[in-house]
């Protein structure tokens, strides 16, 4: 296929994905907004008012980047895993597999859709946060880079999960038992400096810690970890997961008999 044909194929998948999540917006966009609003009210307002400042900023300000990032991570992952597995389940994925589209376009298309949903949910949660606090932005471009890269990484993760999943249970296992605990323990609600040294060291093994802190650095210029290391980890994960997904599609793992 020519470059233009590849572009048409890519935009077809992305358009299809966007139409899908916009059509069912009450299932795809609204839940994160409601959940994160509750976090803002309960943790930010009610409990946060008694906690005081963290790293020189109010507790409400502190949790905003983490809660935005939580929405980005969950939605980017959920969009791709549910859409891809849904296509496998209905066998409509065969429409793509019988076409001459190269594998990297399939990956880029699904990741594009997941990234757009992740970023859109992040923007919605951020807009809600303005009702509670006026977060400052230390480095706008860093905020953009972190939110987009994180969305890409978890879209790629969702795709790998979707490729592997054989039944609906397989779609729920990773988000429930891995993603959610890592997100909650990734410094959304606390600075890891408040943890005992042992748990601090354990926390450094959690990749989501680097994403949330890098994103928070973009807002306030404060972070528990080196922001360039955070960026490096995101790029490494994006690269590794792309290679893994490409390998899966080439071999036909979970797709071809």
């Amino acid at each position: 296929m020519t470059l233009n044909e590849n572009y048409i194929a890519l935009s077809t998948i992305v358009r299809k994905e966007v139409v899908r999540f916009m059509r069912i917006w009450s299932q795809t966009l609204l839940p994160s907004v409601i959940t994160q609003t509750l976090y803002f009210v309960i943790f930010g307002k009610f409990i946060g008012s008694r906690i005081g400042d963290v790293g020189g900023i109010s507790y409400m300000s502190f949790i905003i980047p983490g809660l935005v990032m939580m929405a980005v991570i969950n939605n980017a992952f959920a969009n791709v895993v549910s859409s891809f597995f849904g296509s496998k389940f209905q066998r409509s994925i065969e429409e793509i597999l019988v076409s001459p589209m190269p594998n990297w376009i399939i990956i880029a298309g699904y990741v594009g859709g997941g990234t757009l949903r992740g970023v859109l949910c992040g923007i919605l949660v951020f807009l809600v946060s303005i009702f509670f606090e006026h977060p400052m932005v230390h480095n706008f471009w860093l905020v953009i880079v972190f939110v987009v890269l994180t969305s890409v990484v978890f879209s790629l993760g969702g795709l790998a999960n979707g490729i592997f999943a054989k039944k609906f249970d397989d779609v729920a296992i990773f988000p429930t038992f891995v993603l959610t605990p890592l997100t909650y323990l990734g410094g959304v609600f606390y600075s890891i400096h408040s943890l005992p040294e042992f748990w601090q060291k354990i926390s450094y093994l959690n990749p989501i810690l680097y994403m949330i802190n890098g994103f928070r650095f973009g807002f306030y210029g404060i972070s528990d970890v080196n922001v360039f290391l955070s960026l490096g980890i995101l790029i490494f994960l994006a690269g590794s997961l792309t290679v893994i997904n490409l390998r899966f599609l080439e071999k036909g793992t979970g797709l071809r008999a």
Partner: protein, 302 residues
């Protein structure tokens, strides 16, 4: 030029099932070719390898001289595939299903819309273009899958049991449509259980059994191998059937029975025997199952 060229194609599934045991097959460009076989014979596996849904174990396959090992994406540009089972998103609209498929082949949106209109009108689905596919009847869904397979103007159309579960009227409409496509130059490879449609439409056929091609020839030559034909005989009143010994008669009802006639036997002789038995003939027609007999006969031989 061959549209399909297969050499020593082997497929062994992960559970050890040997679906294809080294088949060779050639389908000429412009042919209307049937692949016949019982369930589990390996027909769908051949199509799956061709279209990229199944990984082959070994062997070679070329589509219009393009080796699928060298450039499968290019080989796929020649093909349109109508699978055995529904495989579209049931929540998508008819028009979107076709336009998305066009997009996957790199066809610009405007051109896709134009093709979509032509195809949907030809398949009598234009009025349903804004309906979700799940609201369509079974026959409409089948036509939608044919339409989707045609959106990239394939030179090779592959149909995996396209008329399974389709009513008689729609089946005949589909036959006409497929004949028209073939006359316009599209090579067609079809698997089917309706052997009558092979006789009606196909030029050449191969019979596959347990992963091996056991016969491959022109349909008319294959049919010639059958030395017996079944006739449906209508008479005023069925009686004295024992006088038609040697014709393998089967009584259907009070006025109808089936009889086997050898090809060398003259119909006049059979009609004379009917008169001798005291039956008045009102109608006589071949049952049209010669290929079925051939199928069973070759299977039995092997």
């Amino acid at each position: 030029m061959n549209a399909i060229s297969i050499q020593k194609l082997i497929k062994t599934y992960a559970n050890g099932t040997k679906a294809l045991k080294g088949i060779d097959l050639q389908v000429r460009s412009g042919d209307f070719f049937a692949l016949l076989g019982a369930n589990g014979a390996g027909k769908t596996t051949v199509i799956g390898i061709m279209t990229g849904l199944v990984n082959k174990t070994s062997g070679q396959m070329r589509i219009f001289d393009v080796d699928i090992d060298q450039d499968h994406p290019r080989a796929k540009t020649f093909m349109g595939v109508v699978p055995q089972e529904m495989n579209f998103n049931i929540f998508e609209k008819v028009e979107d299903i076709l336009c998305s498929q066009a997009g996957y082949y790199g066809i610009p949106r405007a051109e896709a819309m134009r093709r979509c209109e032509v195809i949907l009108k030809r398949l009598d689905l234009w009025e349903k273009r804004n309906h979700q596919s799940r609201t369509l009847s079974g026959g409409m869904k089948r036509r939608l899958m044919i339409g989707r397979a045609l959106i990239n103007h394939p030179q090779l159309l592959i149909l995996d049991e396209p008329t399974a579960g389709v009513d008689v009227e729609l089946r005949h409409e589909m036959w006409d449509f497929l004949r028209e496509l073939n006359q316009n130059g599209t090579t067609i490879l079809m698997t089917t259980h309706y052997l009558e449609e092979v006789e009606q439409m196909c030029k050449n056929a191969a019979i596959i059994k347990n992963g091996e091609i056991i016969a491959c020839d022109q349909v008319k030559n294959l049919v010639r191998l059958v030395d017996q034909e079944t006739y449906v005989v209508h008479v005023e009143h069925v009686h004295n059937l024992d006088r038609l010994n040697g014709h393998g008669v089967r009584r259907i009802d009070e006025t109808t029975f089936e009889a086997e006639l050898n090809k060398k036997e003259r119909l006049n002789d059979f009609i004379a025997r009917l008169s001798e038995a005291g039956m008045v003939l009102t109608d006589l027609r071949p049952k049209g199952n010669r290929l079925e007999k051939l199928f069973l006969r070759i299977l039995k031989q092997n």
